[in-house]
Subunit: 192 residues, 2 copies
């Protein structure tokens, strides 16, 4: 990997802001002298958690929820924003309880992923949740979420299903499968 | 899968718009009577293509590019917006030529994925590109992009690398590997 000379950030200018979104203009000067202005979505808060909950029998726990962006019900993993100074793994377990009705005995941060990093600072922490048992916390959804399970062994079929369309969820389930395949002890050590 | 009764969309109100982004407020009334207002990023244009280029020897072709959102160089797949009425597979091959310097003899649409569907209408078409040969078209990048190759067989290691962080790229490479594993003839039929 060669040593890169990153562009110089000459200015960051707030453009517009709504309750959920803030857009900035960024003036950059690249090492070759080229100057450009990009627009980007500014980061609000401390990012999100996306949870891959795996039951002791190897089924993934998903939720089906109405998505306002795509105007249809989407099948995906429990997720949400990290509150204030909440630790990442606690945020993951809270979202798991609120959205799917489970609590996890083991929570493992697999990695942080980005979404459209060219124009968004959004970061999502992918957390594997195992040793699941039922426990529900009230959430803030406008209607109850449907909980759906799917065998991790059959992930390849789910990944091509139209109803499970979000790239983050698809990536997260493959990361979890890869992690568990390389740490065979990990999915055995759940309390019975 | 139960029959869902989707919420009624009562109003869509434009809030702010910049060169790249448009934010809307959406008033929804759910089947249970609950009324909520969500914000979302409106779709601009016909969406994006993300290309998984695989060389005849089984290496993935990636590019390393400065990302303004995360303020660092990111390793990911060639991608870009679909122009006007450009066919999806043509857009994929154009981006492949502009960003990575290859043209593909075979282009296969694997699936469409979403990003944060709760508050974004963004859709990305994942296209597998095989039968690659060198051909470069001029792009609009402010500095030359570095081309990096990585064995598809070693995808599990790349998927956990910090420098390859975008969820769409990680998902797309696993989709390509799955597709090729189930269609063994597919990566054999490239012209020699």
């Amino acid at each position: 990997m060669p040593v890169e000379q990153p562009p110089k950030m000459c200015a960051v200018r707030p453009l517009v802001e709504t309750r959920l979104f803030a857009v900035e203009a960024v003036d950059l000067k690249f090492a070759n002298g080229v100057e450009v202005t990009f627009e980007r979505l500014a980061a609000k808060g401390r990012g999100a958690v996306l949870v891959v909950p795996i039951l002791d029998d190897g089924r993934i726990v998903l939720i089906r929820e109405y998505a306002c962006g795509t105007e249809r019900y989407e099948l995906g993993l429990p997720k949400g924003r990290i509150d204030g100074d909440e630790p990442i793994l606690e945020a993951a377990n809270r979202e798991l309880m609120e959205e799917a009705g489970f609590t996890a005995a083991q929570l493992t941060l697999l990695r942080e992923v980005t979404s459209s990093p060219a124009y968004s600072a959004q970061r999502t922490h992918i957390v594997l949740a195992t040793g699941l048992s039922p426990r529900r916390l009230p959430g803030d959804e406008p209607e109850p979420l449907e909980v759906v399970t799917w065998p991790l062994d059959d992930l390849d079929r789910l990944a091509f299903e139209g109803q499970c369309s979000e790239a983050r969820s698809i990536a997260a389930m493959y990361l979890a499968r890869t992690y568990l395949a390389h740490s065979p002890a990990n999915d055995q050590k759940n309390p019975a």
